[in-house]
Each structure stands twice: as C-alpha cells, then as structure tokens.
C-alpha cells in the first residue's frame, strides 16, 4: 500500500497543479469571452460618448459619460413608435403562432405522421427571400404592404417554426398516461389539450413564446421588405439611420443599445432553450 502511494507526488504539489490548471482555464476563457463580449461593451461605451469623444483617434477609453444620446433618441423622432411597432408585431405573431402551434405540436409529438414536420423542415432550409418575393407581389395586389396585418402574418413565418419545434420537444417529455386517463373519463380533445397539456407544458410554452418574440423582434429582412413608414420596426429604423449622409454615431449607438438590451434580458431568462430554438428555427435573418 505504501508502495502504491509513494510514487504519487506530495499533496501540496497536486493541489498547486490543480490550482494552476484551473487558473489557466479561467484566464483563457475570460480572454476569449472578452473578445465575444467586446462589441457589446463598445456599443454601450459609444452610446455614452459625445460626438467629439466618439470621433477621437486614438479612441478614448476613460471619459465622463453622458446620457444626452439616450435623451436625443427617446425624445426626438419616432423612436417610440418604432418600439411600439416592434412590440405589437412580435407579440401578435408569437401569440398567433402559439394558438396554431400548440395543437400542431401536440399532434406531431404524439402521432408523427402529419406532414407538417416535413414542411417546417423545408422551411428551415428555404432562404427567406424565396418567401418574401411572392409575399411582396401578393401584398402589393392586396394592399397589405405597410399594414400590421400583413407584417404580423409574415412574421409568423419566423415565429411558427421555432414555436412548433420547441413545443414538440416539451410534449414528448410528457407521459401520455394522464391524457389517456382523462380520455377514459370522457374528456374531449379540447379539454385534454386545454386542461392537461397546456398547464403541464406551461414552462415550455413560456420559453417558446419568449424565443418567438426574440426572433420576431430581431428580424430585419421581413420588415424591411413589407413594412412602411407607419409600421416600421426597430431594426429597420436602425438600418435607415445608417443611410444618412453624416452619421451621428452617439445616438446611433444609444438606439442600438436600446434595441439590444430587452433581448439580452429576455434571453437570459430562457438560456437553457436558446441553442435548441436557434437550431430549430433558423429563419432569423436569412
């Protein structure tokens, strides 16, 4: 027994080695994390700088922050309305997707032969432009360009696949016995769905709703084609600011920060499901 242990190094060396190893891993991951988070920090810093500080080269690292940019963005122009538009479109398209998606997800999860799965898989591969060209032609004919109805309908393209695929996963995790027991007791399909499946998958539904909201909120391509002055959403507004002759980077950074912050906060509440959601419904911006 003494033989076996004698070859091992003294305890303090092993501890030091483990300590060093963990320290090294921590330092490495902090440094690459810094690279991935730097754009966010730079955006936040830029939003607190004056135009003079902004244009300085070499860049100013330590400065007296000002909230003037945020005041400018929030008081002047239609920023509030764009934010409202984004909220309306994202909420409605997510809500409708849930309404249609919950029964569909239930059927896919329990029966597997609905054909909807294949369509949604093809939709995952299709470029968004392939839908947007025909929709645009149709919308011009039906006078749906620059209407909330049209925009919400098109955003469902983005939210429905995410919502359905997320919910399929959650329903599959539910033991079917409870539904069968209810059916034996004479519960109708609507009752089974509404009183059993929905309450039991409530956390999953909430996660799917938040992800759908994020995807719609971030979407640029659908909105830039199908919205107009009245229904413009935040990403389109940001893009239009960029088109001005002399760009005021301070207010632009402030606007970008305001657009990004709610998404980051929402994302942290559903962090466990984000990877799954992104894999399932990649129509975010393609």
């Amino acid at each position: 027994m003494v033989e076996g242990f004698s070859r091992r190094k003294p305890l303090w060396t092993r501890r030091t080695r483990r300590f060093l190893r963990r320290g090294l891993l921590l330092i490495t991951s902090i440094s690459f994390l810094f690279v991935f988070l730097f754009p966010f920090l730079w955006m936040a810093a830029g939003s607190l700088k004056t135009q003079v500080q902004y244009m300085a080269y070499p860049p100013v690292w330590v400065f007296h922050p000002t909230l003037a940019n945020y005041m400018r963005v929030l008081t002047s122009g239609d920023f509030g309305r764009y934010a409202l538009n984004s909220t309306i479109v994202a909420s409605l398209s997510t809500g409708i997707s849930l309404l249609f998606g919950i029964p569909a997800a239930y059927a896919i999860a329990r029966y597997r032969r609905t054909g909807l799965g294949l369509i949604l898989l093809l939709a995952r591969m299709a470029p968004l432009v392939a839908f947007l060209i025909p929709l645009f032609v149709l919308y011009v004919k039906l006078h749906l360009v620059n209407t909330y109805t049209g925009l919400v309908a098109a955003h469902i393209l983005v939210t429905l696949p995410v919502v359905v695929w997320m919910l399929v996963g959650f329903v599959e995790g539910l033991p079917p016995d409870i539904e069968h027991a209810a059916q034996i007791d004479g519960a109708t399909l609507v009752v089974v769905l509404w009183r059993i499946v929905v309450p039991l998958t409530a956390p999953g539904i909430a996660a799917a709703a938040i992800l759908g909201f994020i995807f719609s909120w971030n979407n640029f391509l659908v909105s830039v084609v199908l919205s107009g002055d009245r229904t413009q959403t935040l990403p389109v507004a940001l893009f239009n600011y960029l088109g001005y002759q002399s760009i005021e980077w301070g207010p632009l950074s402030a606007a970008a920060s305001i657009v990004t912050l709610p998404v980051l906060v929402l994302a942290l509440t559903v962090q466990r499901y984000i990877v799954q959601g992104l894999v399932a419904g990649g129509l975010t911006g393609y």
């Binding site: 080269y57 432009v129 393209l157 079917p176 084609v225 940001l238 950074s253 990877v275």
Partner: protein
C-alpha cells in the same frame, strides 16, 4: 423503438368492445392526427407552400413589377439567362467561398471552445451563459457596431492592431478583405452556437472509454484524435449541416454592412437575389435566382445528410 413505445402507449384495443367510453377514445385517436395540425397546416400552406409554388411559377415568367406591365410566360429562359449572367455566377462562387471559409473557421474554433468549457473550473457556467449573447442580439444592431469598430479611420480595431504594428486596413471597402471580414463578423455571431452544440455532444459522451484510455497512459492529443473526434462525429456532422445551411443564406449582416459592395465584391447569392427581386422589382428573374438558391441549400443538405451515414 419509438413506434413500439407509441403502440404500447395507446389505450388497449381488447377493451373497446366492452366499454363504449374506450371506443370513443380510440375513434378520437384516429382523427386527432388530422384535425389538430389542420389550422397550422392551413397557415403554413398560406404562408409557405403557396409562396413557394408561386415563386416556381413566377420563375418561368418575365415580369418587371409595375402597374402597367404583366407577367409574360417565357419558359426556362430565366434559367438560361442565369448561366450567362456574370453577376450571378460571381455571386454563386462568392457564396461557396463564404460558406467554406465560414465552416473552416467556425467549426475548429467552436470545437476548441467546447473542449475548454468541458473542463472543470470555477465560473464555467457563467461563461457558457454569456456566450449566448452574440447569437441572440439583433443582427442589425450588431452589424452597426461592427461597422463602427471596423472603421479604417477611428475604429477601435485599427487602434488595437496598430499597437502590435499591423498597418491600417480598409476592412469593408477593400474588395480583397471584405468577404473575410464579413466571415469574421458571422463567426463572431455563430462560433458560440457551434461551441455550445459541441459541448452538449461532449457532455453526452460515455466516460468509460476515457477512463480506460487514462489508465493506459495515453496523451491528451491521442485521446482527442482517437476518442473525442470519432465519438463526437454525429454531433459535428449535425453542426456542419446547420452551419452550411445558414452560411449559404447569410444576408442581413452583409446587406447592412456593405450592401454587397464595394462594387459587387461582397454580393452573395442571397444578397443578389434580394436586390434583383425586391429592389429592382425584376420579379421573374429574382424568382429564378431564389429557386436556384433554395435548390442549392436543399441539395447540399441532402449530400451532407448522406455523408452522415457514410464512414469517414
């Protein structure tokens, strides 16, 4: 297995003659698969199937969308014209280059980060959470930030690089650097996704082979090459499929940052299609480009899915 489980889960058939309630349940069972997805099927038919069919139909027409003009049936002429359209052919080649470069950068880096996060050290769950941020932030906002950071005059990237002696580069306005720069921005956004998917794959691997390998005194490199890589292959192929699908279709960051420029030097297929169909209103021709792009994505995906089954 799944089918067996589904069979076992069904209300048992023998009882159905004896009790009416159960017969009701089984007959419900028969129409559930058709009725429940019906609303969603109608919705997807309206929003996805109909547009795709219309797209295919339009791609055989010549139509400049205007009040006075009407679509004219021209057969496969649009597709023939594509073969002689230099702008299209260059965009096609650029899309391939963009996708290959993106995959070549993102998969190794993502796998590296996954291996790092697979180790045990304090704070690794926080690192994992913060890695989610680049992929959930609005791409337009992030594209704007990158435009600011990449500015050849006052950009912070110029400053950082000049401190290590690298001269000024016009990242987005030089035709030679614009595509690699855009790949870098796309990689910043999506390497974390690759990393987290690989990490999930690593976590699911059995531990016994690694314990055995440790006892046999293998080096970390041997364990990576002979154990981790072969065992992680299914995960890696899935990651590859999803990254290829999305890289072939990237449009928002390119459109916001360069609008396909300078000249046409960052114009990929999707950007070209966006401009032709929705900016120049050449609906017929744009539809043909979209059909080709769609076919390329589906074709490449099917190829990769076949490769998933084949051996390395």
């Amino acid at each position: 297995m799944r089918r067996l489980a589904a069979l076992a889960a069904r209300p048992s058939e023998p009882f159905q003659t004896r009790r009416r309630g159960l017969r009701l349940a089984t007959s419900t069972d028969r129409w559930i698969p058709w009725v429940l997805p019906l609303p969603a099927l109608v919705l997807t038919a309206l929003l996805m199937v109909f547009p795709t069919a219309f797209l295919l139909y339009m791609s055989f027409h010549d139509w400049f969308m205007e009040a006075s003009s009407h679509p004219v049936w021209i057969g496969i002429h649009n597709y023939e014209a594509l073969l002689r359209d230099d702008r299209f052919l260059y965009a096609f080649a650029r899309t391939g280059y963009f996708t290959l470069l993106g995959v070549a950068v993102q998969i190794p880096f993502g796998l590296g980060i996954a291996l790092l996060l697979h180790q045990d050290f304090p704070g690794r769950s926080i690192v994992r959470t913060l890695l989610l941020l680049p992929m959930v932030a609005a791409p337009v906002a992030m594209a704007l930030v990158w435009v600011m950071m990449l500015d050849p005059g006052i950009g912070v990237i110029r400053y950082v690089l000049s401190s290590v002696g690298i001269p000024r580069v016009a990242w987005l306005s030089d035709p030679h650097t614009v595509l690699p720069t855009l790949v870098a921005v796309d990689s910043w956004e999506w390497i974390p996704l690759v990393a987290l998917m690989c990490l999930a794959g690593l976590t699911a691997l059995p531990t016994e082979p690694f314990e055995a390998a440790l006892l046999d005194g293998t080096s970390p490199w041997q364990r990576f090459w002979h154990l981790v890589l072969p065992m992680l292959r299914p995960t890696l192929v899935i990651v590859l499929i999803f990254r290829v699908i999305d890289l072939l279709k990237v449009v928002d960051i390119i459109y916001v940052m360069t609008r396909g420029g300078p000249g046409f030097s960052s114009e990929t297929l999707n950007v070209y299609d966006f401009l032709v169909g929705l900016f120049y209103y050449r609906v017929g021709y744009g539809s043909a480009v979209a059909v080709v792009l769609f076919a390329v994505v589906v074709g490449v995906t099917l190829l990769l899915m076949r490769a998933r089954r084949a051996t390395w």
